[in-house]
Amino acid sequence: MNLSTRRNFLRQLGLSAAALPFLPALPSLAQGNGAAKMQRIIFLFTPNGTIPPEFWPDQTGPDFQLKRILAPLESFKSRMITLKGVHNKIRGDGDGHMRGISCLLTADELLPGNIQGGSDKPAGWARNISIDQEIKNFLQARPETATRFGSLELGVAVPNRADPWTRESYAGPNQPLAPLSDPYAAFDKFYGQSKDRENLGSVLDEVRDDLKKISSNIDPEERELLDKHATFVREMEQDLQSANTQNLMFPPPALEQGVALDNDGIPKISTMQADLLVNAFANGMARVATLQYTNSVGQARMRWLNIHEDHHGLSHEPDSNADAQEKLIKINIWLAEQLAYLAKKLDSIPEPGGQGSMLDNTTIVWTNELGKGNSHSLDNIPFVLVGGGLGFKTGQAMDFGNVTHNRLWVSLAHAFGHFIPSFGHKDFGQGGPLMLS
């Protein structure tokens, strides 16, 4: 909703624009206006590649078996697609990890820069907008699909530093977007105003009481000013009360308090961010999101899986190191469980004002910076789509042999009705969208 529509809307509710800062996030007016089919997309990022033999189904087509890593998605098997043979072919400056994350959603080379990786030439930011932002801009430009935020950039344990290893989403060339990794800050961003409103309601009451008390012992001139003050307090209370009649479609999620935002907090943070994301979608705040687990070269130590080495360190171990392989499989299973949790959450909520569940109208795209950790290969990125709404033929394992991931992003754009001829690097834009339907 743009500002002037919002103002008009408030006026109809009898609210002054002055009450704006304290009003809750009003659900999008477009929500439930039925005409356009609901479509949402979530890009889920995990680092350090996968263990291919335990990831890729042996079969292609509708009859396929999920291997260990994808086993947590068993209940969504008919609503998912695995996409083998899709390569990130972007080269140029920067090491494989930088390109792995910063060229993933942007599908173009990095700008030359000063950030030196473990190999290759130093590089800077991505030179292209990322596909999530491309789709977001398309949706925001149309009143019927525009939402309060357009897109949400959320993270789980993303380090507090801005460089090509920590950013996947770009508003444009050279314009990285920072994911929000603090669930409490995310809560404030989505619902802070309504929480403030709640606090204010009780506070204003107290202020009025005290004003009365003070007024009994002051000069008439003072009383005149305080009476005015009391009027403003009363007016604000009234504004808040009328605002209270506009409730969120779904109440804010109840977050566990006091979760430490560090390595060991990751499992809880992961759940909280998924809950926040789904709730924000349900309340019509956005239709596009990225959810980024750590960063490229992610170094989480998954002690809750009894794995004490860091993820990236393990990923460098050769295939012959069976212990490391087993740990990496466990790590990737855990990550698949996070995806499954998100999918279940979406599936548990009937589509507001629509058909089926939210998952039927939301596609989760599981991405990775690498295909395989110890070779730093950007081929066969372990892409998985879960959910519906984009008109793809789900319930199959696909193998494209050797295509660029630029084309996958074109497919997604087209599914949203955004018919761009190509996306990203000019050499890899040929061939149009991948056939997914």
């Binding site: 507090n160 107290e206 012992n217």
Partner: protein, 789 residues
């Protein structure tokens, strides 16, 4: 005293009456001998004055609206009447009659004594915190829960230079030093010996000193990597300099760590800062394999132009984080020439409320630091409650009664809400409470009132610990105790910051003015850089005079030197001072005299292509000579092209304002402006205007009623120094700015008393600050020693 212009109908009426009386007077003369007994002062008043001033000097609507009251001495009043009253026909009263009527007016209603006799004394205006008071109070309230720092010496930043090694930016320290200016061009070379030019990093650390309150813009230019931190709280891991470290927690104001090829990147950001305080500051920089290395950080102070950030605004000293309330507030009422909190509005209440919410969020985010209560503490809850109670007590400027503790603290915690939410509620409640927002609330005036007034008067803020302790210990009872506190507080940087803001206002440095943009063809070289230097010259001059040992008001007006740097000296044809920076350069005393002839003001009070005697005259009347002027009845723009180009400016202005309606005020304004005609529109001394010689000699009737002949600026300044009305006018302006009240609210003789001590102190401005604040602080507070026994 104010003599507002008449409406034309009123004028006509007066003229008729006067014509008749003149006629009668002449007849009387012809008839000679039989002279009636001289009229009494009262009779003269009712005959010649009451029609405009009212029977008892109360004023008459549409004639003289304002009551006939003032601070003039009898001599001055009598002279004034003789020269100027009745308006349009002052000849009607001779000196002796004027003396008589002055005596009558004086005793009947004019003097402070007479007014005290006649009516209830004026009271202090009820007021909320002004916006400045609010912001300063918030900063000190939150600041009181941690380490506090005072601005360090502005001599530069600590700089550490490192050899880098790939991702490790701090592989080896190569150099420690202090840098004074954040502009470095290393080109293709190293920043120092012993470092390879290919990869190195530098960390500049210390504090930033903000001279004034307002929005500051920062502009970072580098083709390499850099981050700017301003007013951030130092966090664990901030010193970590590896590229891939996730340890950093502090958020950068500008993060330009990642480069984009060889091109120069320019990034800007803005932040609100309070003047007179220092802020944690850090600039991290590195170069990695790019062809060239350079970094520049510029800033734009409020109302100033972009300059490279440098001394004296950078200090190696540490500074504590400052909580800044940067919400936009509606401007305070300034209709009487100073900001005061006498009005409340819906917009103000909303700003206060949303600011309270914002600050409460900051409190919760920093709760561990502020309260000292750790998450794992068993007694966290009681600790948080105590924190909230201290917060309320400091905000309310007095001990918290049990009842108030219940209301502002316990109740917020009592409802099963989480401790963080309870703190948040309590903080919002305190910050929206009238007890915080209206500092003088309630009839009871005690030592805490004294403490509160001293802190507001000298700092615009809350009492500090020493002041609160003194109040609690009963040590703010005697005038000596109060003065001793004021003396202590006057040495605090906050006093300096507040006083500097007064002078900014007094000298019109507080707002941008397009009048400072001069015609480039007529005044080549008078550019933005020179204007910025002139501002700085005037600011520095005032600061040096006011904060010197003597703090002599007379020096402000009479100094025969100008603070010049090279650019100013060259432009004004003065010797370029040695040693760089701003230095005092002696001028011809006949040409330059203190602020009266400072080129910043002369240019600020001139049009873009000509002088403006009216601007200059109004400024001198109001700000320097203690006069009051009402706004003109109709605004007439000066349009140069409408005059014969052969006329001098003096002739043009005289022509433009010759109407009697204008002359009631311009009689005062014009001569003052004309006396500065030796200075052109950019403040350069001149003797000719085109091909006509300039005549700066003027006849001027002073506020004290004296008929003066002034020969140029030096005599004008000497008159200002000698004039009682001018001095009292200065005291009044300072008083109003400091206390946000009119002096008579503290006793009708307030100005007279302050003037006497000011005189006795050698016109010491800082002493005056202490005197006026001490006087105001104790006003109406019963001495408890007498009250209770």
């Amino acid at each position: 005293m104010n003599f507002p212009p008449k409406n034309p109908a009123g004028l006509w009426r007066i003229r008729e009456v006067l014509r008749i009386s003149i006629f009668l007077g002449l007849t009387g003369c012809l008839l000679a001998q039989d002279v009636p007994a001289p009229l009494s002062g009262e009779a003269i008043y009712s005959k010649h004055c009451a029609s405009c001033h009212g029977k008892n000097g109360e004023g008459v609507k549409d004639e003289v609206d304002e009551p006939l009251q003032g601070e003039r001495s009898l001599v001055s009043l009598a002279k004034y009447i003789d020269k100027r009253m009745p308006e349009d026909e002052p000849e009607i009263l001779n000196a002796e009659e004027s003396q008589r009527v002055a005596e009558y007016i004086m005793g009947a209603f004019y003097s402070p004594e007479a007014r005290a006799k006649n009516s209830a004394p004026p009271k202090m205006a009820v007021a909320r915190l002004t916006n400045r008071q609010y912001r300063e109070s918030i900063a000190d309230l939150l600041g009181s829960f941690g380490k506090t720092t005072v601005p360090g010496e502005g001599k530069g930043l600590k700089a550490q230079y490192f050899q880098s090694d790939g991702m490790n930016k701090k592989a080896r320290k190569a150099l420690d030093r202090e840098d004074t200016r954040l502009e470095f061009d290393f080109a293709e070379g190293p920043p120092a010996e012993g470092i390879s030019p290919e990869q190195f990093s530098i960390a500049w650390d210390g504090s930033l000193i903000a001279p004034a309150s307002g929005w500051y813009e920062f502009r970072l230019s580098t083709p390499n990597g850099a981050r700017v931190y301003v007013n951030g709280e130092r966090q664990e891991g901030d010193g970590n300099f590896r590229d891939d470290s996730g340890a950093k927690r502090q958020t950068a104001l500008i993060d330009s760590w990642v480069s984009s090829g060889p091109e120069m990147r320019v990034e800007t950001a803005r932040i609100f800062l309070l003047g007179g305080r220092s802020y944690p500051f850090r600039l991290d920089y590195f170069k990695f394999k790019e062809a060239r290395g350079s970094v520049k950080l510029e800033w734009k102070q409020p109302r100033a132009d972009w300059t490279v950030l440098s001394t004296p605004y950078l200090s190696p000293a540490e500074a504590a984080y400052v909580t800044i309330a940067d919400k936009a507030f509606p401007p305070d009422d300034a209709s009487e020439g100073y900001e005061r909190g006498t009005e409340v509005s819906k917009a103000w209440h909303e700003a206060v409320t949303s600011s309270a919410v914002e600050i409460s969020n900051g409190v919760v985010a920093r709760l561990r630091r502020l309260s000292g209560a750790k998450d794992e503490d068993a007694d966290r809850l009681p600790k948080l409650k105590d924190f909230c109670a201290s917060f309320a007590e400091r905000a309310f400027r007095r001990p918290l009664t049990d009842e108030l503790r219940q209301m502002y603290v316990e109740k917020a915690f009592a409802e099963g809400v989480s401790p963080d939410q309870a703190v948040k509620r309590s903080v919002i409640l305190v910050l929206t409470s009238p007890r915080f927002l209206y500092p003088e609330l309630g009839k009871e005036k005690d030592e805490f009132t004294v403490a509160s007034r001293l802190a507001l008067g000298l700092w615009d803020s809350l009492p500090d610990k020493a002041l609160v302790d003194a109040a609690k210990a009963g040590q703010l009872r005697t005038p000596e105790q109060v003065k001793a506190q004021a003396q202590r507080m006057a040495a605090d940087p906050r006093t300096r910051a507040k006083t500097n803001e007064f002078f900014q206002r007094w000298l019109k440095l507080d707002a941008e003015s397009d009048l400072l943009q001069k015609d480039a063809e007529d005044y080549p070289g008078f550019d933005a850089a020179l204007v910025a230097d002139l501002r700085r010259s005037l600011e520095l001059f005032v600061e040096q005079v006011v904060w010197s040992e003597k703090s002599d008001y007379r020096e402000l007006l009479e100094a025969d030197y100008l603070l010049c740097n090279e650019r100013i000296a060259k432009f004004y044809g003065l010797p370029v001072p040695e040693g760089g920076g701003f230095q005092a350069v002696k001028c011809d005393p006949a040409q330059r005299s203190g602020v009266v002839t400072h080129p910043y003001l002369l240019a600020r009070l001139a049009h873009h292509d000509t002088t403006s005697p009216i601007h200059r005259g109004v400024f001198l009347t109001r700000n320097v000579l203690g006069g009051l002027l009402k706004p003109p009845p109709e605004a007439i723009a000066f349009e140069d092209h409408k005059f014969d180009p052969k006329m001098t400016m003096r002739e043009k202005i005289a022509e433009m304002t010759r109407n009697a309606n204008c002359m009631t005020c311009h009689e005062t304004i014009n001569p003052l402006g004309f006396s500065l005609e030796n200075f052109d529109a950019v403040g350069r001394f001149r003797t000719m205007e085109k091909d006509r010689p300039i005549d700066p000699v003027v006849d001027y009737i002073s506020q004290d009623g004296e008929q003066l002949k002034l020969h140029g600026p030096r005599e004008l300044a000497e008159h200002a120094v000698a004039s009682e009305a001018a001095r009292r006018g200065f005291i009044r302006q300072l008083f109003q700015y400091e206390l946000k009240q009119n002096p008579p609210a503290y006793g009708l003789d307030t100005l007279v008393k302050l003037d006497a001590t000011f005189n006795a102190s050698g016109e010491n401005i800082r002493q005056l600050l202490i005197e006026m604040n001490s006087l105001a602080a104790s006003h109406g507070v019963k001495n408890p020693d007498q009250a209770s026994r």
